[in-house]
Each structure stands twice: as C-alpha cells, then as structure tokens.
C-alpha cells in the first residue's frame, strides 16, 4: 500500500519533470532562453506581494469552477459548457448590479443579489445542457460546446448593444460600476477580495464533504459509475444528473460574479478568461478528487499570472503557461496509465 503511494508520487514528479522538459525543448526550438523564462514566471507569480495577491485573484474563480466540475465528473458528465456558464453568470450578475445602481439599495445587498443572480444564471445555463441531454438526447459535450458560443454571442451583443458605453461601444466592455458596488478588497490597489476567497474555500470544502460523506454524494457516484444499476437500486438518475448540472452551473456562475464584482467591475467580452477549460484540466489532474483541488488550482493560477511577465521582459507570448499546463496534464495522465499497467504486470509476475 505504502509502496503504491510512493510509486504514484514518483510517477507524478516524473510527469512534471517530463512536462518541463518538453516545454524547455519548445522554448529552445524557438530560440528563447528557457531558464530565463522559468525564472520570470516564478518572479511573476511570487516576486512581490502584488503579484502574489494576483495569483490568489486568479485562484478564486478557478477553484470555484473546479469545485463544480468535480460534481459533474462524479456523476459521469463532461461539462464542457462550463465556459458558457461562467459567462452567463457574469451577465446575470451585471444585470443585477445595473438594476441596483439606480435604485436605493445598500451596496452589500446589491452585491449579494449580484452573486445570487450570477449563480442562478449559471445554474440555468447548465440545466439547459442537462435538459438537452435528458429530453433531447444531445450529448452534454456537444450541447455545452454549442451553448458556450451562444453565451459568448449574448455577452458581446449586450456589450455592444443594450449595455453599451455612452457614446461608442468598445471591446473594453460596459461602463464600470459605481465604486460602491465593487466587492471590498484588501486595499484600494489590490483586486483581492477576501469574501471571494472565502467563498471559494467554502465551496471546495462543501464539495469535499458532499462527495465523501453524504447520501447525495454516494448516489452521484453510483450514477456516474453505473447509471443502469443505480437506477435499478432506486436512484432517480436523470434528476441527479440535473442536480449536478445545477450545482456546477451555480458555482461557475459564482465565478462569473466574482469576475464582474471583484476583478473587472464591469462586463467584458472575454469575461470567463478561459477558467472553465483550465478548471477541466485541474479536475483531470487531481483525478476528480476534491482533496488536491485547492493546491493544484493555486499552482495553475500561479503559472497563469507568472507568465504575464513574459511578453514584457522576454518578448515571449504568455501562452507559454498554457503549454506547461497542458503538457503537465498529459504527462500525469500518461504516467498514471503507465504506472497501473506496470503494477498489473508486476502483480501478475510476483504473486
């Protein structure tokens, strides 16, 4: 048992090293200095308090999204539509704030309403994918992908149409909200909102408990592993799938609301910032278990923030962080496959 765990850790370490090796080769092939690039990423992610707090700013929506995806993965669904759910969550949150801006509503209530609206919007958008799957026979991957484009189109239409800035509409988004309606941050320069960080931590903790110790979580697991048997054992399977879509969508919507209320203070075209797809990678990397999600999400957030330095200092594209993240996920999954094959073979030989 212990040697199993050691072997697993070794394989994962080897996978990270291999991923960095590939990235190094990619960098060398383009003539860029690899180690300077890594040093810059590290400096960009942890060099001073400002960038470190930016890492946490990126970590919050990523962790919210990952928490939600753990639920859909558990029930056996690939919620690719997560990007659209973040976007629609942001749209709903923006709508709530715009509605509150003119009215006599306390800022705290307005922000709370924005989060509630964002979560409801994300949940609705996710349940649309679920309804398409359950009642229309549309695979959730195709339905989700399609609705991602629809969500983007709605977002762009709002920014350039009904919600455009006075005068000329712009890619930089809607007019920023009244500063009263911003989620309070550590200090006026920082974008780090303690409430948002708390929300993310509470979410992943709640999902951890939900999947581990509750009847609801057990039924989700049973449905994910064998829907037919789960149904015959008395689990209302499609209702549980819908519920998991709703939970995941609500958390994605919360991430969208964080982006709107704490980070950008307005609706922008790329409001989801790719956190949905990144969350899918984190969920795969932690093998769909909640325990490791927080640290891995932090690492990915650090890579993202750290690589922002690259274009400025080294004239490299910041997409390098994506290369590192993608290769790490591939190599870890590959390593796990190789390890279990080897373990099976070894078991067959020795016993």
């Amino acid at each position: 048992m212990r040697s199993d765990r050691t072997a697993k850790a070794l394989f994962q370490a080897a996978a990270v090293v291999a991923a960095l090796g590939i990235t190094t080769l990619v960098l060398a092939a383009t003539g860029a200095p690899p180690f300077a690039a890594y040093a810059n990423i590290a400096k960009g992610a942890a060099g001073n308090w400002t960038v470190a707090s930016d890492v946490v700013v990126a970590w919050v929506p990523l962790l919210l999204v990952t928490s939600g995806l753990l639920v859909t993965f558990t029930v056996g669904l690939w919620n690719i539509g997560i990007e659209g759910q973040i976007t629609i969550g942001a749209v709903f949150a923006t709508w709530a704030l715009r509605s509150c801006q003119g009215a006599e509503v306390s800022p705290a209530l307005a922000i709370a309403l924005a989060f509630a609206a964002g979560m409801a919007g994300g949940a609705l958008w996710a349940m649309l994918v679920g309804a398409l799957k359950t009642f229309g026979g549309v695979n959730e991957i195709f339905g989700g992908l399609g609705l991602n484009y629809v969500a983007t189109a709605i977002n762009i239409w709002l920014i350039f149409g009904p919600w455009k800035r006075p005068g000329v509409a712009s890619m930089s988004g809607t007019l920023p909200f009244d500063q009263k309606l911003w989620l309070p941050t550590l200090n006026p320069q920082s974008r780090l909102a303690p409430v948002a960080a708390l929300l993310a931590i509470v979410s992943i903790a709640a999902i951890f408990v939900l999947l581990r110790g509750t009847r609801f979580g057990l039924k989700l697991k049973a449905t994910g592993k064998n829907p037919r048997a789960a149904y015959l054992l008395g689990v209302p399977t499609w209702q549980y799938m819908m519920a998991s879509f709703a939970i995941c969508g609500a958390l994605a919507g919360a991430a969208g609301a964080v982006q709107v209320t704490a980070v950008y203070h307005r609706l922008i075209p790329s409001i989801s910032s790719g956190y949905g797809y990144l969350g899918l990678m984190v969920a795969m990397l932690v093998n769909y278990s909640a325990a490791m999600a927080a640290p891995i999400a932090l690492f990915f957030a650090a890579l993202n923030v750290g690589s922002i330095q690259l274009p400025i200092v080294l004239k490299l594209d910041s997409a390098l962080s994506g290369v590192i993240q993608g290769t790490i996920v591939l190599f870890v999954i590959l390593g796990e496959g190789v390890r279990s094959t080897l373990a099976a073979r070894k078991k067959g030989r020795t016993s």
């Binding site: 110790g213 509750t214 009847r215 057990l218 039924k219 049973a222 592993k225 064998n226 037919r228 015959l232």
Partner: protein
C-alpha cells in the same frame, strides 16, 4: 494435438486460481473439465488460449514447449477457444466476422472465404449463410459460427467454455454430435462445464478441479457421486421442491401486448398468486425478458394491462413499482445490478434509501456486516463488488432486497453459479415464497425451470404458452416447446390462451 500442462500456477493477488496443475491430454479425445465456480477452470483455459499468462509452469504441444502470450499466439499454435458469450461482431456479416481474425493481405478475398465457409458449414450440416448478419443468429448459431471460424483458422484444439448454457435442446444435440465428429477426425476438445450430465454424455475422460488444484480424473462409465465428491469434497443433498401456500393474487397481466425491435408479444394473460413461483422458459430472445421488464415497469406495454395487488400499474415507472414491493434482478450482475467501484456497505446504503443527509458510516458498516453474515457472502463491508466471485455477487444482490416484497422478478437467478450457490440462492428465494412473495423468473436451464417453478410459461419467438403445471410437464415436452414444436394445441398465435391460465383452475 497432444497437450501437456506442467505445474501451472496462477494467482490473482491472494487468490490462487491455479496451484500446480499438471494434465496430459491425448489428441483426438474429449476431455471434460469439471469444477464449481472459482475452482480454476476458466483460468486454466484462459492460460492455454493465451488470454492470460501463467505465473509459472509450462505448456507442451505435441511434446514441444509452446510460448503462448496472446490469443493470436494460441491460434497460430492451433488452439482455439469458444467463449461462453460468443466473441463475435453482431453488426457484421458472417463472412466478415470470419475474416476479421485471419492473417492475410490488406484486402481479403471475401468471395473465397465465403466459398470455404459454405463448404465447412455443409460438412457439419450448419445452416449458416455467409452473407447474413451475425445479429440475426441465435446463440446456438453464433456458437456454430465461432466453431467454423476456429476450424477455418486451422485450430487443432478446441476449448469450449460452458457451451450448453442458453442453447436449445436440438442445438445442444447438434453441438454434441459435431464435437464427437471433430474428435474422431483428430481434434482435441476441452469441454468446460459444471453440468455433470453434459460431461457424462460427451466426454472420453474428465478432469475435476477444486480450489485451483486437480482434485482427480475420471473415465467412463462416470459415477455421478464420485464426480460430485471430487468437485465439492462432499455430497450435496438434492434440493426439494417445496410448495408454499398460495395467497391473494399479486400480479395480473391481461391481454398484454409488447413490442420490441425484433419481436412482438400479443395478448399475454397471467395471474400470479402470493407464494407462487412462475418459470419463464424459452430460448434467449424469445420474449421472456421483455415480459419480465414490462412487469418491472422498465418496458412500456403497447396495450393490455398489468395489475399489482389489484391496482393498475400499466405505465408506472420502475421506481413506483419498487415502492409497491416489486424487485427486479437482472442477469448481467456487474453491468446492470451492481455498481463496480462501490463497496458492499455503500450498496446497502444506496438500496435502503435511509433518511438523513449524511451517511452514518458506523451504522452502515454494522448493517453490512450483519447482511454479509446472514447471506454468507465471502467479502467485507469495504470490498468492492467487482472483486467478489459470481456466486457472491448474486448473494449480495439477494441481500440488497427489501424484506417486505410482494413480487420478485429474476433473470437467470443461478446463471454461472455452482451447485452449492444455486441451492443457496433458491433456498433464499423459496424462503420469501413461504412468506407470501411471488416469484417470476427466467431461466435457460430446463432442470431449474422444472424443479423450482409451480407453473411454467414457454416463450417461442414472441408466442407464449398458457401457464403449464410444472409437475406434469416433462423435460422432453418442455424442450420440444422451447424448440418450437407442439404448439398447435394452444391454438393460433395471438389468440388469448385458454382459461387454464387462471391459477384457481390450475391449483384446484
């Protein structure tokens, strides 16, 4: 081809599936391999046919050491295996199924293959058309196709794994005559079975495995008592037919019409009383599974009605019927009934639908321990269900049932189980009958149908016989009905069966 197995060892974790098996099988003979479930028969055959490799030991073919690492290696060496569930490709044409595993050029010569297949089929009097599709064949015909395929690929050794499960009597007779003919032409046949009768009728010798070891060998004339003793290490009492008191009507199907892709059932009438056991006989795919699923609320009826305790439940959902005391146990245990990856304890939590948001782990563990003990399951509360043997999975399934059921619907309650587990499963089911539960079950095993049913419905291509008294129904008559003979006396198809179906008349 002569096969020598020398000191074959194979373990799966702590389980010793084969522990030093040495066997010498002369060519042109039929060897029966007997043993209860988990005795190591399948493992030994999988090693010989390349699906698994032995931990140690060697295989000699005609005196030469053979290195068999994959099924392709085995086939090249002349060893072909016919699996219990035919490994064929239902969406393909027969000739393509034949060509699939064959070495040869990128573009196979289908016309020649079809010609050769036709010639082979003619030689063995198989009615197989190379241009037809595999999914149109019966289980028996699919076996014939597999045999042809292995012969065509040049097999000199044929391994048959439980080949008589799920095929009709005439098909079985044909299979046996084919096997005998192949052996007389020089083929070495290994016949794996847990049916003593089949081995006694067919084989030139028998090897009996018990707990991974060779318990002994036997030659004809076989003595059934000796074989049973070798298989189990003891003699088993024959299960007694016990008759429960019949109570009120539990299930009533009236004029039930069902429709699936391949067949239609028209006007089925059946009334089942509390404590009664109804056996559904017929070749696989004759409509019995469709009927059972419709009683469980898993299949919609086209017309007609299903009543449970005098209440119409015709288009109710399965969960609705479950709440009213109906249980459905499908044949595919790991595919449909249990959740691989979850533990026994988790299954009890799932099935009992207790209250509370959080799972009380200690209570769940205690409940699992008591169920495991009372159903004699070889496993722990934290054992994942896929790690259990087939017999223990079936026990686990039974242990998941609620106590207060009015109707239990079972597909193949003892398929793939050894005699001991079979007797156990039926003792548990009959216990329920005694407490007033009605049982409707499907079986391909004629003895099981005759031994445990009160009344029998025979299905043939969607036609359904009126309920027949099991006591007065002989095995031969049942076999003929399953094979589609002797149906004239029930009248035209589609016509509602006579009032003989009413249980009052039947039990008067």
């Amino acid at each position: 081809m002569r096969i020598e197995l020398r000191d074959i060892h194979k373990s799966f974790g702590p389980v010793r599936a084969n522990a030093g098996i040495t066997l010498d099988i002369p060519s042109a003979s039929i060897l029966g391999i007997l043993g209860e479930n988990g005795a190591g028969k399948s493992t030994l055959m999988k090693i010989l046919s390349g699906f698994q490799s032995a931990d140690s030991g060697e295989i000699l073919l005609d005196g030469r050491r053979a290195d068999i690492r994959s099924p392709a290696d085995a086939l090249r060496a002349g060893i072909g295996m016919l699996h219990q569930d035919p490994l064929d490709f239902p969406p393909l044409k027969l000739v393509d199924d034949l060509l699939l595993g064959s070495p040869g050029p990128l573009r196979p010569d289908r016309r020649m293959a079809a010609r050769e297949m036709r010639a082979l089929a003619e030689r063995f009097d198989f009615d197989l058309d190379p241009g037809a599709y595999v999914d149109a064949l019966t289980v028996g015909e699919r076996q014939q196709l597999e045999i042809l395929r292995l012969l065509w690929l040049g097999a000199k050794v044929l391994i048959l794994d439980e080949p008589t499960t799920g095929i009709s009597l005439p098909q079985k007779e044909k299979l046996f005559s084919t096997i005998k003919r192949l052996a007389s032409e020089g083929m070495t046949v290994l016949f794996v079975s847990h049916k003593l009768e089949d081995v006694e009728n067919l084989c030139d010798s028998a090897a009996i495995l018990r707990q991974g070891e060779l318990a002994g060998t036997a030659k004809p004339p076989f003595d059934t008592g000796t074989l049973v003793r070798l298989m189990f290490g003891k003699e088993l009492p024959k299960a007694q037919r016990s008759r429960a008191e019949l109570g009120r009507e539990v299930l009533a199907a009236r004029g039930l019409c069902l429709d699936s892709l391949r067949l239609q059932i028209k006007g089925l009438d059946l009334s089942v009383c509390a404590g009664e056991t109804i056996g559904l006989a017929g070749m696989e795919g004759s409509g019995q599974a469709l009927f059972l699923a419709s009683c469980a609320g898993l299949e919609r009826a086209v017309s007609g009605s299903v009543c449970l305790d005098e209440r119409d439940v015709t288009s109710r959902s399965h969960h609705d019927l479950k709440r009213r005391g109906v249980a459905y146990l499908p044949a595919a245990r790991l595919e449909e009934a249990l959740v691989p990856g979850l533990t026994l304890a988790e299954h009890y939590v799932l099935s009992e639908g207790g209250r509370g948001f959080f799972i009380d782990r200690r209570a769940a563990r205690e409940r699992a321990e008591s169920r495991i003990a009372s159903f004699n399951i070889k496993g722990l509360p934290e054992s994942q269900v896929e790690s259990l043997s087939g017999g223990n999975q079936q026990r686990a399934l039974l242990s998941l049932l609620r106590d207060d059921l009015s109707l239990v619907l079972v597909e193949h309650p003892t398929r793939g189980l050894d005699i001991e587990s079979t007797a156990y499963v039926w003792s548990k089911l009959k216990e329920r009958c005694a407490r007033g539960t009605a049982i409707v079950f499907i079986s391909a095993d004629l003895d099981e149908i005759l031994q445990y049913s009160d009344r029998v419905l025979v299905f043939f291509a969607g036609r359904v016989s009126p309920p027949l008294q099991a006591e007065s129904l002989g095995g031969e008559e049942l076999g003929r009905l399953i094979g589609g003979k002797g149906w004239e006396r029930f009248g035209e198809p589609g016509e509602a069966p006579r009032a003989a179906g009413r249980s009052e008349a039947a039990h008067a």
